[in-house]
Symmetry: C2
Subunit: 339 residues, 2 copies
């Protein structure tokens, strides 16, 4: 069964061997390293699979003293629909290198994030992918001395101790706002979040892109950014309060589809002509944005590509690279009925 699998994707990895032999990856690794504590039966089984599959252990696999072939992924929350694409991309790369991903969720609380990263280190994971952490750049750098690290959704191109992979959020926001301007709109406002983590957060970059686009169109003095609460269903300054503004803006650019889908729903329920009276553009191109009944124009971050690149740089850092890499992925605008 697993040798069919090997034939199918044309690549035999340590994991393929483990599956074929019906043992764990760690067991195969032990056999490869000729480690202490491997039974003859186990060794025979693994070597048979290696021979049958024609497996050639890579240098890394042969030299992997103490590696667990597991990667910790710290997500800020599970509900952001951008995250599954990101994980698809990361897992694709990790799988080829025989690594497995273990996800934990920090709930946007620094103390929880810290104890989760501590646990990943304790579990001897080989590296971590952090997605939009709340931790300061300084603290991230300190952790990066203990475990190879790549950070997504954190704009800190000067970081030395870790790598970053980001959507080019500024360019994406500019695309979104320019599309609203191209529709003849001038009074375009932005739904964003309150500052939490200094200058590194994605929505700060998106605000910069918003201002740039407004200024380039000579609309700089009309620019207005609303720092709204993150969970639209929680109490606080209300997202849908934007629809009570008098006059109603002609366009609203939302930092995320989490806000934009809800805003678009509420606008349509109130009978506001979208996009005629109000254009709405979101960010993340989530599945809900693509539902025909929703039809939200949104910026696609290309999450799979970001995930792939993040896994790539993490593996090369685990492999010994010291020079930091900071990668920006150019997003694309997906136009639908809302703008």
């Amino acid at each position: 069964m697993s040798s069919e699998g090997a034939a199918r994707d044309g690549k035999v990895t340590i994991r393929t061997v483990a599956e074929d032999a019906g043992v764990s990856v760690a067991a195969v690794s032990k056999v490869l390293r000729n480690a202490y504590g491997v039974s003859d039966a186990m060794r025979e089984k693994v070597q048979e699979s290696i021979a049958r599959l024609g497996y050639r252990p890579s240098t890394a696999a042969r030299g992997m003293r103490g590696r667990t072939f597991s990667i910790g992924v710290l997500l800020v929350e599970m509900r952001n629909p951008f995250l599954p694409s990101l994980m698809d991309g990361a897992k694709e790369v990790l799988r080829e290198a025989s690594y497995q991903a273990f996800i934990s969720v920090g709930e946007a609380r620094a103390a929880i994030e810290r104890s989760l990263i501590d646990s990943m280190i304790d579990l001897q994971m080989d590296g971590v992918i952090l997605v939009a952490p709340r931790l300061s750049g300084e603290l991230l750098a300190r952790y990066a001395k203990q475990i190879p690290m790549v950070v997504i959704g954190h704009h800190e191109p000067g970081a030395e101790a870790f790598d970053t992979v980001n959507s080019d959020d500024r360019t994406g926001a500019r695309m979104a706002v320019e599309s609203l301007i191209a529709g003849g709109r001038e009074d375009i406002q932005m739904a964003s979040l309150p500052r939490k983590n200094g200058e590194f957060d994605v929505y700060v970059e998106r605000e910069r892109g918003y201002y740039e686009a407004m200024e380039a169109a000579g609309l700089g003095d009309r620019a207005k950014v609303w720092p709204l609460r993150e969970q639209p269903e929680r109490p606080g300054p209300a997202l849908t309060g934007l629809l009570d503004l008098d006059p109603l803006p002609e366009g609203i650019f939302c930092w995320s589809d989490i806000h934009a889908v809800r805003l678009l729903n509420e606008a349509k329920m109130r009978g506001i002509d979208v996009p005629g009276r109000l254009g709405i553009v979101g960010y993340d191109n989530t599945p809900a944005a693509g539902l025909p009944l929703v039809g939200l124009t949104s910026v696609d971050q290309r999450g799979e590509e970001i995930g792939r690149l993040a896994a790539d740089v993490l593996l090369s850092r685990i492999g010994g690279r010291q020079v930091p890499e900071h990668i920006l992925v150019t997003p694309k605008l997906v136009t639908r009925g809302s703008s």
Copy 2:
């Protein structure tokens, strides 16, 4: 002061950290275990000292006698919006007991699931929560001898080696179908999946509930179940093909909102009168079902409650319980505009 101490004997201990933070050793220990009842201020203070001193608590120092206080969670995929609620409930219970959850995604492929469970064992996690695994009951029982296990979304009340927590899927399906019948509908069909894992899968239970409700209403001979592909966007027997049926059914019960939201969208786009001509009911009560523009009637599994109970039984099994527990949670119907 205490960092001098650290320099002096070259070893940073839990005591050094306590001195540096100006708190008791017991307090540091609580923070390390992520124990309940630690204030954020205390946690912050201790973690700053830990970071500053570069303290790495060993498993032994944590006083855990070999426990890693980590739980592996195997999810079938990340996109099912039922899963975040489930994780919310599980994490609430785990956090109080100082456990952390690490999620991995098996992609509904048995070989991947096996190697992920192997890795969880290799990483010395203390227990596993499996959600809708593809593995046979026999194989699960074999793994359960190696690691404490609770399984969600797998109906096997006779299992001895592991516990199960499930939505009462049969009752939930009956509620859904009865609500369609109550609306005067007779020609009610069901969108389900092809058999994959024998008798244990949730949609098999939902099919049973569908048949029961149809038979109880004297509509048994009109019952029709369609085994459709799981991902509505992939090629294969088409979900939306149900809308091409002639005559169009009066009601369609979908095994999951994943199908129902898409079907409802397509029906509305085609101008079919929902619920007048066609009633649609889904399962899982996902956020998309609740969007005003969607408005799908759906069965709420009470995912948080399932997650809480699963974590509870896992912890008691880790604590030494041998007698299996098999728990059913009664779901509730959430009525919206589609039925």
